[in-house]
Amino acid sequence: MIKILKAGLETSVQDYPGRIGYWNQGFPPSGPMDSWSFRMANVLVGNAPGAAGFECQFLGPTLQFGEDTVIAITGADMTPAVDGEAVPLWQSLAVKAGQTLVLSGARVGARAYIAFAGGLANPEMLGSRSTFNKAGVGGIDGHSVKPGQELPLFQGDGTPGLKVPDNLRPQIRTDKTWDIEVCAGPNDDWIDEAGHERFLTSPWTLSAKSDRTGFRLEGPEWTFTQKATNKPREHGSLPSNIIDHGYPMGAINLAGQTPIILVNDGPSMGGFINPYTVPSCAFWKLGQSKPNETFKFKLVSVSEAQDLALQIAKRCVAENLVKA
C-alpha cells in the first residue's frame, strides 16, 4: 500500500498505452505523456512496461510506503529523497514500510514517473487504470491523487540495484529548445506554401496555458489556401473552421490562429483543422517541456515516425538494464 501525504500538482495514476478503444465515444487514451520514461520505470522494478504507476507533474508528491517494496523513479529530476536522503533516478531501489518518499519541483524536465514492483492495483475502468480527470474516470475516484488516499499494490518481484544505461534514457533538454517531429496532415492542404514554410522554420513558444488536454503554442501567423477561405458556409466563419470531424491524438489543432497540440487527455472531435500531427514517438518531448520553452518542428514521414516509436519500445526491455 502507498499512502499519499502530499499530492503535488495533479499527480495521477497512469498505465500504458492507456484506455484504448473508446476514442469514438470521446474517451482519450490518457496514459503517461512521456511513455519512454514511464516504461523504463516499470521495467526497472520487474513489471510489464505498461503497469500502473504515478505521473508527477511540475511539483511532485510526498508518499509513504505501507509495505516493503522496490521502486524506480525516472523522467524529470524532482530531486527525490527517501527519509531525507537523496536517491538516484533511473535505478531500482528497495524501500521499507514506513519510509517516506518526497519529490520536489522539477529541476530538469517537467514530468517524473514512479513505478512500484507489482504496480498500482486500483480498479480498471474501460480496460485501463489510467486517470482521465475531466470525466472522473480511472485512477482513484476518477481524479488526481489527494492527501490521505491509500493505493493498493499488486504483489511484485522487483530487484533493487538495476540501472538504465545513459544511452537508453531520453535526453531531456536543459537549453529550453526542442526539435519535435511532425507528420503532415490530415488537413495540410488547407495551409498555403508560405504557411507551411513559416510553421516548419519558426520557433514556437509553449504557453503556460497547457496541460494534459492541450499544449498551446505562440508563434507567427498562419496563411491558408482556397480550401479554407472559399468554402461552403456550413464549415464555419474562420479559415481554420471545418465541419466537425474526428481528431487524431497529437493533432496540431488550429483554433483561429492559435495552434494547440491535442495530447493524452485531449478531445476526439471538433470543428477546427489539424494541419500537422505530432506522432507518438515525440510525445515524451512534449511531456518534458515547460512553459516558455521553444519548439521547432521537423517534418517526418509516417513510416519514419513509426520506426522511431519502435526504437523507443525496443529500449524499454529488462534485457537492457545493467547493475548500478
Binding site: 511540475f58 520536489s104 522539477a106 512553459p291
Partner: protein
Amino acid sequence: MAKQLLSPLPGVFYRRPSPDEANFKNDGDAVAAGDTVGIVEAMKSFFPIEAEEAGVAIRFLVEDGAAIDAAQAIAEMD
C-alpha cells in the same frame, strides 16, 4: 544575511494577481510570514509563492512574466 524566496515549481512568474491589479509587493516593502509575494503559472493553474517568514526591504530578482525554474530565487529580503 538576505533571506531568499524560492519558487516551489517551474512556470511563468507574475508579480500581480491579474494584469489590471497592483503588485503583491513592491521593492522595499515589508513582508509578513504567509504573505503572497507572487504567483507561478503552470498547467493552466496559478500557485502562490508565500513568504515562510517575515522580512523587510524585499527586492525582486525576476521580471514579471519571466519563465522560472523550480527552486529559483524570485526575491530576497532582509
